[in-house]
């Protein structure tokens, strides 16, 4: 069975690698500047005159779309390009432990960025009295969404030695999951696919699950959805690496 100790060792190395390179700082600064700009300048946080964080959380899926695949693209592609994957996978650990260690490190890394947006909560609390329950639920949903993005990005990173391919495929994968329920996408299927299939595709979308938590509703079904997306992507990463690690 997976050992916490081994997962922990991989996790710590991976997290440290983020902060040892410029990636961490560039990511954090861009993430904070971008969410700040979109919230205050584009969504007109002050002019709305409502002390809630809806305009802030509205942008998260879109900012993640760009930044999460950038943060995950190196997870496996770089290991494969530099040959360290051979070192890593001949250490006394299982592939699952290596994958989980990397996944949790990347997820925590994004989560640190999300948590660093706390001044906006302070701002809203200073200006009015936002419902803190809703704010916490929205943060929780946003972090779960980030985890799903990380899992997709990790899968696409494992597919080739090229980080660029990992990034582009990751972005595409996340975009598809984000928009799966959107009319132009379902419209594409509705003409020829049976009704149940259209509904199944639409139900893969991140959006309805994200929206529910933005309204302060934490439903076990939504959590189960995110956990299954992550589990599925982790499983798929395992299969891809089994087949392609040395190629």
């Amino acid at each position: 069975m997976a050992s916490i100790h081994n997962i922990g060792a991989i996790f710590r190395r991976e997290l440290k690698a983020y902060f040892q390179s410029a990636v961490a700082y560039v990511f954090m600064v861009v993430f904070l500047v971008l969410t700040g700009f979109l919230t205050f300048s584009v969504a007109r946080f002050y002019e709305r005159g409502v002390a809630d964080l809806a305009p802030f959380f509205f942008w998260h899926p879109w900012v993640y779309l760009l930044l999460v695949p950038a943060a995950t693209m190196s997870l496996w592609a770089e290991e494969r390009r530099s040959g360290t994957v051979e070192l890593l996978l001949t250490m006394p650990i299982t592939m699952t432990e290596a994958i989980l260690g990397k996944f949790f490190a990347a997820w925590l890394f994004i989560t640190i960025g999300v948590v660093l947006t706390f001044p906006i909560v302070i701002t809203a609390a200073y200006l009015g009295s936002p419902d803190m329950g809703v704010v916490l639920s929205a943060y929780f949903g946003s972090i779960l969404l980030a985890g799903a993005y990380v899992a997709v990005g990790m899968l696409t990173s494992s597919m080739s030695r090229s980080q660029v391919i990992g990034f582009v495929l990751g972005l595409l994968g996340c975009l598809l999951l984000l928009l799966a329920g959107w009319e132009p996408i379902t419209g594409f299927f509705v003409r020829w696919a049976p009704d149940w299939l259209v509904r199944a595709i639409a139900s893969f979308s991140f959006m309805p699950h994200y929206d529910a938590m933005q309204r302060g509703v934490i439903d076990l079904q939504d959590i189960a959805y995110y956990v299954s997306v992550m589990g599925l992507m982790i499983f798929a990463t395992h299969i891809v690496l089994d087949n392609r690690k040395s190629a």
């Binding site: 100790h5 081994n6 060792a9 991989i10 710590r12 190395r13 440290k16 690698a17 040892q20 390179s21 530099s82 040959g83 360290t84 051979e86 070192l87 996978l89 001949t90 250490m91 006394p92 650990i93 299982t94 690690k245 040395s246």
Partner: protein, 244 residues
């Protein structure tokens, strides 16, 4: 210590390794020779559990690599080709990571790393990022990672490739220092290396073993009594046979 039994690997229609079998005992340094592309690296990758074999198996310290890969990996030290290592980590951090994975925690881990840094002559660069090291230091850092946990079996894929004569000498010296209490396999195509460190060698060509014996026995196979000639005789035949 190490038994390789009928290892075979196909990559699509290409048979990279075909039924390779040999054994190595404690205290033995086995040279694994062959031209480029003969299947040396693929064989080593199967023994270390990195690649699953298409057929056959390898047993290390009594553990079967197919049935219990983690147990096999625990008794192995492996230096892959080109000495891969995490460029952004310092030498000390990299070795501590290795020690952590190998189950040395806290002070035991730090002591282990300090000792290894001394045996592998890495004191001068211990706080340097691996990406900034010269090839010789990089090779030794990866070597250090392989011997850190004092494994009973050590597998090295071209450990002296691309090093200058002084560095080659140093690596061979380190290998000899450890030889008596370990089973060591070194792949190489440098024949002087075989004479310098190996007790026995296995020559592989086109994925098959073509000779297995002590360097002296192999020398005796050629008219002029040199290893180079024996090597050419055994491996060229094979290549011609296969190409035409």
């Amino acid at each position: 210590m190490l038994e390789v039994d009928g290892l075979t690997k196909h990559f699509g229609p290409i048979e990279a390794v075909r039924g390779v079998s040999f054994q190595a005992d404690k205290g033995e340094v086995l040279g694994f020779l062959g031209p480029n592309g003969a299947g040396k690296t693929t064989t080593m990758r199967m023994i270390t559990g990195f690649l699953p074999p298409s057929a056959g198996t390898a047993r290390v310290c009594g553990h079967d690599v197919g049935a219990d890969p983690v147990a096999v990996k625990r008794c192995l030290g492996y230096l892959p080709e080109n000495a891969p290592a995490y460029d952004s980590m310092t030498v000390t951090d990299f070795l501590r990571f290795g020690a952590g994975i190998r189950g040395f925690r806290g002070k035991a881990g730090r002591d282990r790393v300090d000792e290894t840094i001394v045996t592998c002559r890495l004191e001068k660069v211990r706080h340097q990022a691996i990406g900034t090291l010269s090839k010789g230091y990089r090779q030794r850092t990866c070597f250090a990672q392989a011997v850190l946990h004092d494994p009973p079996v050590l597998i090295m894929d071209e450990p002296t490739d691309g090093l200058d004569p002084n560095q080659k000498h140093l690596v061979r010296e380190m290998i000899r220092e450890m030889a008596s209490e370990k089973t060591i396999i070194i792949s190489t195509h440098i024949l002087e290396e075989v004479e310098a460190v190996c007790d026995r060698c296995v020559i592989i060509s086109n994925g098959e073993i073509v000779a297995n014996g002590s360097p002296d026995e192999l020398k005796a196979k050629s008219p002029s009594g040199t290893l180079a000639e024996t090597f050419r005789m055994l491996t060229l035949d094979k290549e011609e046979e296969n190409n035409g």
